[in-house]
Amino acid sequence: MLRYLVRRVVSLLATLLVASLIVFVVIEVVPGDPASYMLGMNAQPDTVAALRAELGLDQSKPARYISWLTGMLQGDFGQSYTYKTPVADMVQDRLWISLPLSLYALALSVFIAFPAGILAASRRGGVSDTAVMGFTQLGIAVPNFWFALLLVLLFAVKLGWFSAGGFAGWESGVFQAMKSLTLPAIALALPQAAILTRVMRSALLDVLGEDFMRTARAKGLSARQALLRHALRNAMIPVLTIIGLQFSFLIAGAIIIENVFFLPGLGRLIFQSIAQRDLIVVESVVMLLVFAVVMVTFLVDLAYAWVDPRLRHAHR
């Protein structure tokens, strides 16, 4: 396990390093100088030069990359060109919306998918199975931002149960804050729940054919007891893997869903920063999201190797 762990950590660090290089190089190709952009068309050349020096733009590209990278390692993401505030602070504020939103959606997706997947697998070929599978087909095909619009139309415009957008803020209480995240989380969770239901169902069906399931039935457990006590635990490996992988889709999805509901999260921050050419923010947020995706994949790999010893010794 230790050798496996060391190899995975080295590979993780290499991936992050190369990813940071790609993000930096791609964003730095951008034509136009942030300093001139910030000061406007009529700025004096010496003012622009002074601002460039202040922002560190006069350094060579390799030097800027090194300072960006070492800064990030110490939690310093640089200073926003537009707002003149530390990027780390801006990101932290937004993270308090994006992270709870993603986790909320993940929880909803699990709460929907587990019972639905178990129901479909235990009634294989029956009416419930067909109905659940039909819904999952639909759930995968519905774009979540469209589903979000429909939710707004029904629950905000027609029924008035929720607000159509905006974030109440954590200072207005957990209930209010979670309430404003509820419709976005449902919209975000739908396609993930549909995928997870299908994985849950097929993982359970795979396990149901195993010898130990026959043994469980032979020793007198009902089909239902055998399913809940033995099959479910064994089906968890593929299900947990998919839950981990879904995190990266949730992050990407959240960027779009935040736009539908005007939530001031990381997604909104990215688009605002692109519009204002605040590239240091774009660079840092993209890198942060890549970091999150890579870390979750890494943790899932570790959990997987921990559960299934064969994988530790496999080449990959």
Binding site: A14, P143, F145, L149, T297
Partner: protein, 271 residues
């Protein structure tokens, strides 16, 4: 063959394709014609699906928008296959070597960037547009096809027909192209269908946030974005583009599922 999934799937896809192709020669109205007097018309005899806030005919926009969606997703699948399949074949041919390792680690790296993040970076540099959406979704598709190809061809390398080809003096390149590629075509077609439907969804998402096709080119995602502020006044604006996306993606998924069952005898037996 699972006719009950392939048939509805194929019909839905054909419906969308027909609409897109028809739009080259005929649309009920010109998509660029603004008719402010008839703006926000509800569906009726003149405008079957109503008009938008500038009086443009929704059905015509949907038909032309289908072209954008299909073109973006199709080219993105082409990029994914065109780059990913050769890489996968190469990795399998050079299995356990540094080339294989490099290709697979490169794949992992691309997987770390969801398509939306790639699109965001490209947009930050080159500005929004359909071509950038294609590149972003295409790059995202590359590791999918590379992994699939490598995984599927690895086991084939130990099979007798490959050994026979080697004895006959064929090199790795000829074996890959002449013997392995035809063996994984079915897999590639099925995966291609799935990536195509994901591409339609991704394109819609990108144009919804303004990173895809730019006005005046109609796109389904853009139409949904425009409908958002008018959702209380004209809900039909949000309804039809969304339905168009669902129909296309559902059709492609059903087609992909059905094709997989049909092309893989093991699955045909299991289900």
């Amino acid at each position: 063959m699972k006719l009950q999934t392939v048939l509805p799937g194929a019909l839905l896809v054909l419906l969308v394709l027909a609409g897109a192709l028809l739009s080259y020669v005929w649309t009920p109205f010109e998509v660029t014609t603004l008719d402010i007097r008839n703006k926000l018309d509800t569906p009726g005899a003149t405008h079957w699906l109503g008009t938008d806030h500038l009086g443009r005919d929704i059905l015509s926009m949907l038909m032309v928008g289908a072209r954008t969606s299909i073109a973006v997703a199709l080219v993105a699948v082409g990029i994914g296959m065109g780059v990913g399949v050769p890489l996968g074949l190469l990795a399998a041919a050079q299995r356990q070597s540094w080339v294989d390792e490099l290709i697979m680690r490169g794949n992992d790296l691309v997987f770390a960037f969801p398509a939306l993040l790639i699109a965001i970076m490209i947009t930050a540099v080159f500005g929004p547009g359909a071509v950038n959406a294609i590149i972003a979704i295409g790059i995202f598709n590359i590791p999918v096809f590379a992994r699939l190809t490598r995984g599927a061809t690895l086991s084939l390398w130990t099979r007798e027909f490959v050994l026979a080809a080697r004895v006959a003096g064929k090199g790795a390149l000829r074996i890959s192209v002449e013997h392995l590629l035809p063996n994984i075509t079915n897999l590639l077609i099925v995966q291609g269908t799935i990536q195509f439907s994901l591409g339609i969804l991704a394109e819609a998402g990108l144009s919804y946030v303004g990173l895809g096709a730019q006005p005046p080119i109609p796109s389904w995602g853009r139409m949904l974005a425009d409908s958002q502020t008018l959702i209380t006044l004209a809900p039909h604006l949000a309804l039809f583009p969304g339905l168009a996306i669902v129909i296309t993606v559902l059709g492609l998924n059903l087609l992909g599922d059905g094709l997989r069952d049909w092309l893989d005898p093991r699955l045909r037996r299991e289900r």
